[in-house]
Amino acid sequence: MENPYLPYPVRIDEIIVETEDRNLKTFTFVFLNPEDEERFAYQAGQFAELSIPGKGEIPIGIASSPVEKGFVKFTVNKAGVVTQHLHNMKVGDIMGIRGPLGNWYPWEGLEGKDLLIIGGGFAFTTLRSSIIYMLDPANRAKFGNIDVVYGARTPGMLLYKEELIEWEKRDDINMHITVDGTDDPDWKYNVGFVPPIVEQKAPQADNGTYAIVCGPPIMIKFTQPVLEKLGYDHNHIIMSLENRMKCGIGMCGRCGIGKELVCKDGPVFTLAEINKTPREY
């Protein structure tokens, strides 16, 4: 019997400090047993349990993309027991990864559609995974227009800055980067919270447009009416939820929102689906 609680052993291969407050780091992991990488085959939008012996596990969205091979990446905010410990670990250290877990953005159904991607703060990780996936030469033709609104408090708090700049230069993706505020005179992108930028820059919805939204609760709260105004149906608004988790496989019971389990039935839900739950997240 395969043990779904047993993590794959991995080695930390690279650690990048992402943000100016140093609270976000991106960890690149390499599987100790190369065959585990195949077993870990994942889709953009899934998450995994980062497993640190002696400390515990923490569910984190997968930031690398299925089209990137040889490693997996996670961007981790320093917050609780496990993530604080992880932030103090070094390249070469051994730990575990358990997954991939949960569902993913509905890629098959999204083929042929225009996509509006909205991210805020450090909830941009699985969106990075998604963008890299869609921009892959093998996949780009499968999707229509791609618009991305991504906001952070300051320029220094944006994740994946080099990639953002690269995407800005491309003509097959419309980037709308924004910050809440900045005193940088050279800042050439947007200034303002995510919801108003969505209102100004995002395309009107039609039957073939979908929005994927990830961000802090306050951003989601104020973005929803904007999307409604732009004509996005609740079936076309796709969100990724977070709740406290332990098992990640739908057994331990704590992440339930009504009859749905965020870890197994989610984390990806349409707003229409979420509306049918008691929204206990």
Binding site: L6, C252, K259, E280
Partner: protein, 356 residues
Amino acid sequence: MIKKIAKDEWASGLSKLAKTYRLFGPVAERGPDGARTFHNFKALAPGELPDLDLGNTRLSAKSLVFPQSEAMFTYTLDEDRDDHHILKEVPADGMSRVAFGIRPCDAKALAMVRMNFDTPEYKDPYWLRLYEATTFVGLACDAPCPTCFCTSTECGPYHEEGLDLLLCAEGEGLLAKAITEKGERLLADAGWEEAADQDLGARKAAAEGCITSRIGTDQLAEGDLLDLHGADFWEDVAFACINCGTCTYLCPTCWCFDIQDEVFKQEGQRLRQWDSCMFPIFTVHTTGHNPRDTKTQRVRQRFMHKLKYFVDKYEKGIMCVGCGRCVRHCPVNIDIRKVADLMNRYTSDAAKAEQA
């Protein structure tokens, strides 16, 4: 086919079984003064007989397959060792086990809880290994407790679901009905082969007749989940609750758990232990945000999970077998029977209001 087990054959059969099985059964706990207090399932010591003279065990039989605290993995943090920081499965105890004296309600509960631990996508190896290694020998209830309401939960004092063998008292001895092949094998292994020209039908009917406590659940599947979630009675239901874990820890169908790492010097264990939706930390986020921050939300979660979410998710009825433990031992007398009736009535009232 019903077999008869005379009093002396019971003891000799058990000692035969002890050679190939680990035996578990209800054992009376004793207080500091030596007085018998209540029963719990324990591993039977050599020669020890399960004490079948009981109402029901204080804690349910779930700990037989789902111990309150269970090691899942071990590891070392000692970097001089090649396998440092790599988790190793705690080897399974492969020995077959027999659980004697499990009440039909507890056996049904385990069969239901299997739906949580044995899914198409994932199998919980710890739970399943113990469940499959165990032969469940039930003990029919000829004298149910006033708090038993198992006949309202698609269960009953002679219910066979989840059992391999059903025992009932017959004079000084016992009658045994094999339900599965596992049960037949156990009868053969124990040498309990004397046929009894008996039928349990009348006893079953008599026992069911003793159960006077009933709940209504017929409307629960029909009701709107969010309506019920927003019903006006939750504050009143929850007022007395002290948010302890008694109801959930005594419940045979509660399966929620926590996973924790513990390290002594350089050697660590990853443990699984019971957890409870009654505790605020069950759901609190690292940010401090808690989706079920109030007592009322947590009490509602417990009842909604058992009586609505589970009903909707699996379409197999309610997640309650009517054992009555939570009713008997709640320190403040919160009674699931009353809550089930409130929920059921709320749903039928809502339906009537819509028709009107």
